[in-house]
Symmetry: C2
Subunit: 196 residues, 2 copies
């Protein structure tokens, strides 16, 4: 069971980051939520809270990429725009189902550290960069010209993040649904027209 301990710590930290952010999450709370004694946190993460945050953000980032890829795979293979709408609708449904907690696991911390912790800022930049690469590849595989992929993946990710912000503040899924329609329209416009 000892080998599961670092994972328990990271999982508890990820949940606390999502609710309370980086600054609002203390090691005592992480110890309480993970059931790992306070002193043991430093055994597993000698670099302290910043090292634990780095590991937590990377783990959360990989997990979220996997979830988004699974949602995109549920969409109709031959209709990229419909799949975009599906992804935003699912994000909205998950948000409502979790009482507006289950949004991006990186964004809150990314804004908190952007001007105050350059080590963690770089970690968040790497994660967003990997997500954009994954979305680029998905768009190109679906027929979007390579030179338009990055603009559209940026729109997809920014609209999702901005949508989480607006939907969580208002406790209303409407912004995410509307954004799915808008992003889908831009993706549809980038697809080559059918050969005649």
């Amino acid at each position: 069971m000892a080998s599961d301990t670092p994972h328990r710590i990271v999982e508890a930290t990820a949940n606390l980051f999502q609710r309370n952010g980086y600054t609002g999450t203390g090691l005592k709370q992480i110890s309480a939520d993970s059931g790992v004694p306070f002193g043991s946190l430093y055994h597993f993460f000698p670099g302290g809270k910043e090292a634990l945050a780095t590991e937590t953000l990377r783990w959360s980032g990989r997990g979220y990429a996997t979830r988004v890829a699974a949602v995109l795979a549920e969409g109709p293979r031959d209709d990229l725009a419909a799949t975009v709408r599906h992804a935003f609708d699912r994000a909205a449904e998950d948000l409502v189902a979790t009482d507006y907690v289950d949004a991006c696991p990186i964004a809150t911390v990314a804004l908190e550290v952007a001007s105050s912790n350059d080590t963690l800022r770089e970690v968040t930049a790497e994660i967003f960069g990997e997500w954009l690469q994954g979305l680029d590849a998905w768009l190109v595989a679906g027929g979007v010209p390579e030179d338009q992929a990055r603009a559209l993946s940026t729109l997809f990710l920014a609209a999702l993040e901005g949508g989480f912000l607006l939907s969580r503040a208002a406790r209303d899924p409407a912004p995410l649904h509307a954004l799915g329609e808008q992003v889908a329209a831009q993706v549809a416009a980038a697809l080559p027209t059918e050969p005649r």
Copy 2:
């Protein structure tokens, strides 16, 4: 000078929120940055940090709405899409000029409090709601059909917020510039075609 004191406190708090967020901002730091003795903070804001945060968010929200309205007024009157691009380009330039600090004054706090402080969450929701109403009116005045205004104002605001997130994390203005093009294209598509 005494009448300026609450304003000095709010201004210092707004600057600290933008860099360090709500949880990362302490009353001692607010006292130091504003030059107002710690005890006097409670004299002017008997409700403590939450009351001060409410006033600061509202003040920052009004200020940001005024700034965005001024930037939109700089654009060509007869070209809504070009004005959208201009607004995103200006946001990107301001971000670079301020070493990636000068972004939305509400977003960081909004994500921090979304699941942890319902009073402040409602304040952020009101501010976003007012911004969306202002953008709705601007879009309709520019020729966008009323029934399409809210979807486009939501796209404008979400893309700006998501763009700030991605540009600040990567310390790169490119996401905001790309998003300006994408939002402009959606706005252009909503405008009625010229009468023939």
